[in-house]
């Protein structure tokens, strides 16, 4: 039986009926058409489905849609300001941190969760934060540089 799920999605209050056996990733992609959230492995190893739940990175393939109730969910679509990409996204582009792009939304959200609570991370802290996001194009170096630069610029401002 479908259950009513009310939560905050990318800043807006939403209300939807969801089957209890539906995963959050499926709800986001199919119901809300937020297809920036990708499914890679479906078992919580690749991080392509990463979203923020109350500001913390989680794998949306490991959360049931009904568990979103009462929580605040942010997807990659929600971190840009309309058509204006955020500084992290801008630096991913500038540093060539995007190749095939499949890991990018998850990678950006993991990095964003890190910078929100730690504006001056060490390289090891950046690596730790994105360790749950696999990039099979293996462009990790550019990704780490992009995160570092974003931190540096935000401190300067």
């Amino acid at each position: 039986m479908k259950m009513k799920v009310e939560f905050k999605l990318n800043g807006a209050n939403v209300s939807v009926f969801a089957e209890p056996n539906r995963r959050l990733i499926d709800l986001l992609r199919e119901e809300f058409e937020l297809t920036g959230t990708k499914e890679g492995c479906g078992v919580g190893e690749c991080g392509a489905c990463t979203v923020l739940m109350n500001g913390r990175a989680v794998n949306s393939c490991l959360v049931l849609a009904v568990q979103a109730a009462g929580n605040e969910i942010t997807t990659i679509e929600g971190i840009a300001n309309g058509d204006l990409i955020n500084p992290l996204q801008k630096n991913f582009l500038e540093f060539g941190a995007v190749q095939c792009g499949f890991c990018t939304p998850g990678m950006v959200l993991s990095a964003s969760a890190l910078l929100d609570k730690n504006p001056d991370p060490t390289e090891d802290e950046i690596k730790e934060a994105v360790a749950g996001n696999l990039c099979r194009c293996t462009g990790y170096k550019q990704i780490i540089e992009a995160v570092k630069e974003t931190a540096r610029l935000s401190r300067k401002n």
Partner: protein, 293 residues
């Protein structure tokens, strides 16, 4: 795909226990869900009876980390990320802190709970050897009973525990040691992050004038479930802690592990690694002890 089921969100412990009180196979607790959701999605046999998931994330009685005079009490539904932020855990139970820091990824640690780790009781559960070595005990409640048992007694076989269907683990209590312990936790996976453990070892040693006063040894992944080595611990007490002792203990630990698991295809690799790692851990502990770290 996840089979059709109900999810129920009890608001307090009593409500949750009432839901479990029919003692049926079809109700199962979900906390972080990091084992159960992919397990259901892959339609694993051990989850196939489930018709009702009881979500315990909103139950206040299962939350919080409280330090008292003689112990720390960790709410069963505390996530690994929450535990990593706790100063008492970091300072007084560094092996648990280290084990928690190696669980999955940030995303997993933000959801996965400490009780979920040992209630699921996978052989590779990283927090288990660390909790065993600190003599952790569990508070367990049903509608009609309340008890406290040691984690060691609670764990029965891979993916099996002594938890009855109508019970919930509410708290993990870890006593402060009355010894001057120095310790090490070691995890070997096939890669450095998001790795399922192949070998975990935890050691606590109280040295007194280069004699072993007390030693505690626990393993995970390399044994069918996380386990303490009580006989070996007893054998060590009072021994002079020289280099020969470290070699002896490392060899004996590997022998004990073979005794538990029998010879396996992986033994040829794992046993020399266990020996070498154990020896190295003892050396590290000794130097920490000497320099008073």
């Amino acid at each position: 795909m996840i089979p059709s089921l109900n999810v129920i969100f009890p608001k307090n412990l009593n409500e949750a226990l009432s839901l479990l009180s029919d003692n049926s196979d079809s109700s199962k607790i979900i906390a972080g869900g990091t084992d159960i959701i992919p397990g259901l999605n892959q339609e694993l046999n051990r989850f196939k009876e489930i018709k009702n998931l009881i979500d315990v994330n909103q139950i206040p009685e299962l939350k919080g980390i409280i330090r008292s005079k003689e112990k720390i009490s960790i709410g069963a539904a505390e996530t690994f990320s929450d535990i990593l932020q706790n100063d008492t855990v970091r300072e007084l139970f560094p092996l648990l802190w280290k084990a928690a820091s190696g669980v999955g990824s940030v995303q997993i640690r933000n959801r996965a709970t400490i009780a979920g780790n040992f209630v699921n009781n996978a052989p590779c559960a990283d927090s288990v050897p660390a909790l065993l070595i600190y003599n952790a005990t569990l508070e367990i409640e049903s509608l009609s009973s309340k008890k406290e048992i040691s984690l060691n007694e609670f764990l029965s076989a891979p993916y099996r525990t002594k938890l009855n269907r109508d019970e919930i683990v509410t708290k993990i209590n870890i006593p402060f040691a009355d010894k001057n312990f120095t310790g090490e936790f070691f995890k070997l996976g096939r890669r450095r992050a998001v790795a399922i453990s192949r070998i975990t070892l935890a050691l606590l040693v109280d040295w007194r004038d280069s004699v072993i006063n007390e030693i505690r040894i626990a393993s995970g992944a390399v044994t069918p479930i996380g386990a303490r080595f009580f006989e070996l611990e007893k054998y060590c007490s009072g021994k002079k802690a020289d280099d020969q002792f470290k070699k002896d203990l490392s060899r004996k630990l590997a022998e004990q592990i073979i005794k538990v698991t029998g010879l396996r295809w992986s033994s040829e690799y794992k046993l020399p690694v266990v020996q070498q790692v154990c020896y190295q851990m003892l050396k590290n502990i000794e130097s920490q002890h000497e320099y008073g770290i």
